[in-house]
Subunit: 153 residues, 4 copies
């Protein structure tokens, strides 16, 4: 497989953080053509992001504790194969290394046969309680970056 | 038509407030069987409630101004005929007279031919900013009740 | 607890079929007031129904195999306590005994503390491939009823 | 404004087709942070696409008549400013000229003040009734292209 990288590789960066979760396709997510409507995938990506975030202490509720939020600034999706009712989406999220006040997530969704059905990414920027963009990552995330770099995650 | 009344008639009550709005069925709302998935109708009811609320000064934003909210405590739906992509839902909301701290809404959805496709109701109870149930309607709603009774709405 | 029964008890009926599944509340399901928007619950009920259906061979795909569908004709919800982001919905579905061509499902949702947050029901009627109402249950479901009555489920 | 073009300009191409529609933000679309959840925007884009499609005879139902569909292969969103409850999304869709069997749509969403809140694009590929990719545009769309080029749309 030679998919184009969504994010420019950073020299000397540690490997991305990874986490996989599953989600059975719901009847209500399938359209009249019998496949998952394209607009449901942000929710699948979100499941992947939440799952990874919770594993590494950088989920919504963690951020709330530190009074920061990280709204989505960009989202991209490539639809390769459809998913149907009865399928399960295996959602892999990868958080790519980046030292700026942003979160670069890549997503790879596979079906039960391990075939890639959908890929994409989201970019989030950290803002403080007043909705002001942060110039550098918040402290709690600096700690995560440090452990990550040190290979302790 | 002799549908059973959802709300017990109140003696001497003024006629219900009424408002109608339209909503074309979206592709994404239709299921693999080609009809609107039953779980989309709360959104159609909400459109009807918001539309009536805005016309009579009892919408979400009006309530917010007075620091009350009116969460849904009960919802009921009767599915009579399906709606499909290409149809338009004609959503009639009726607010039934009630002097307690509650809102009794009835909904009647019709298709383009004027046939009733769906009926139902919601019951909301007023609560204050601390989520405490109000024993009597908030002042702004008392004013609405008064004008309503006086036939000025 | 003395909640009113949603379905009239049938004399001599076997106990309802039961199944429980879990669903973490998603960020996207929570409204500006910080609680799950009331219109998401049809999806929670559906999860419960699908889960029970799959366990007893009466799910969507089972029905499809036998060329019948069972559209929802009625849905009812009582909202008792809210659910919030971070909570998990524990969704109990109960299929009540009925010998007609219908499915009477009751739902009880509990939070992590075991408190009941939401209850309700749905009624489905069996129709054939031509959308005609069936006068008696389809054969595959008669088999289920027989095993159920015999205590073999 | 100097936004980067989403699609490479085609030399000698006629101006894009344009259509604008409006959509008031629904309470249910707003998240706990008080802004529209990022995953609702595919539905806003779809409204824009359906609106333009219906105006130019290239909507879902038109395609169905000709036994073709045009599934989404790629979707991209840039979130610039948030939308909130009470706002109305003014959704502009632009169909960019392309002679291949694909539809390149660009979207620009503005708020009531005319400020751009969100931009993005979708790419669709035409497939026939057997889900086979078409090598050239279907006949009905060739007619549209011809009228478009001739300045008759």
């Amino acid at each position: 497989m030679s998919r184009k990288a969504y994010f420019k590789p950073v020299k000397g960066a540690p490997a991305p953080l990874r986490a996989v979760c599953e989600r059975p396709i719901r009847f209500e997510e399938v359209d009249p053509l019998g496949i998952v409507w394209h607009g449901r995938y942000p929710s699948y990506f979100e499941d992947g992001r939440v799952n990874l975030g919770n594993q590494y202490g950088i989920g919504y509720l963690d951020m709330k504790k530190y009074n920061v939020v990280a709204p989505i600034k960009q989202m991209h999706m490539d639809y390769i194969k459809p998913l149907a009712f009865g399928d399960t989406a295996h959602i892999e999220a990868l958080l790519h290394w980046n030292e700026a006040a942003r979160l670069n997530y890549e997503f790879i969704i596979r079906n039960n046969d391990g075939e890639i059905t959908t890929t994409g990414y989201t970019v989030q920027l950290f803002v403080d309680g007043d909705q002001e963009l942060l110039m550098c990552p918040p402290d709690f995330y600096m700690d995560v970056l440090e452990s990550w770099k040190a290979g302790k995650l």
